[in-house]
Amino acid sequence: MRQVFFHTRPAHGYVEPSVSETASVVAEIDALLANKEDEIVPTMYAFTRARGLVEAAYGEVDRLRVIRKQFGVPAIFPKPIATTDDRGGIRVSWRAENKQVRANFGADAQLRSYVYFESPLAHGVEPLDAEHLAGRFAWLTER
């Protein structure tokens, strides 16, 4: 069954439309590289992976939105929060009501990268790639 990307109830912490969403998440990640206060500057490995993979996953969200707009469904997506870990890895999290998705980009290839998801009913870890991240975006915003 195809999962769709939408949330029908606008609320604080949500942004729209999709162009600003992508710009927003990219700006959050870029700000980390600009020596954001309190944050360790991320490694280029983590930065490159985070930027590329999150953009790819948002691209998948946009692709499905085209399909959705055919049915006139409004598009809203949770605003992300980006931070770094103590080794220069990047963490980006999204929250929608009682669900959360966190992408952990390890500082280098030897450190773990994963997608963590959580709801009142389930939680777990999945491999971090565009497919899994986009899938969790669908899960995050499904009704």
Partner: protein, 136 residues
């Protein structure tokens, strides 16, 4: 140590026993943690436990924890922490460690879940940015 017990007090004369209703204060050293509180409950690579202070006011945490800057303080009870089968060990008169949390490199699912659960039982009690004056 993840047995839900209170840790052994190394010097009972100087460090009092912690009780389930006692409040622990966790310093929020990143501004982003005010919005994403679970991030405050993930272990750093060089940590064996989460540093917390007790028997002190939020504005005293920066000195007790020897921090340069913080953006707020979250409060949680000892009983809430041990209820998650974690251990709270007081090692100084105003300092304790929450132990039993795995590093995300070792067990990401458990580390993330515990971070969420600790954030759920915690309340941000202070949102003031505080800095310690530099020596010079």
């Amino acid at each position: 140590l993840a047995d839900g017990a209170l840790g052994h007090n190394p010097d009972p004369a100087a460090i009092r026993e912690l009780l389930p209703d006692d409040y622990l204060l966790r310093a929020l050293t990143k501004k982003a943690w005010l919005e994403d509180l679970h991030e405050a409950f993930l272990l750093r690579a060089d940590e064996t436990g989460l540093s917390v202070c007790f028997d002190c006011a939020p504005e005293e945490c920066i000195a007790v924890l020897d921090l340069r800057r913080l953006h707020g303080v979250a409060s949680l009870t000892v009983g809430g922490v041990t209820g998650l089968r974690l251990t709270v060990t007081a090692d100084e008169p105003h300092h304790a460690l929450i132990e039993g949390i795995p590093h995300k490199e070792e067990d990401a699912a458990t580390a993330e879940r515990l971070a969420s659960q600790l954030a759920e039982i915690a309340t941000i009690v202070d949102r003031a940015r505080r800095e310690r004056p530099t020596a010079d």
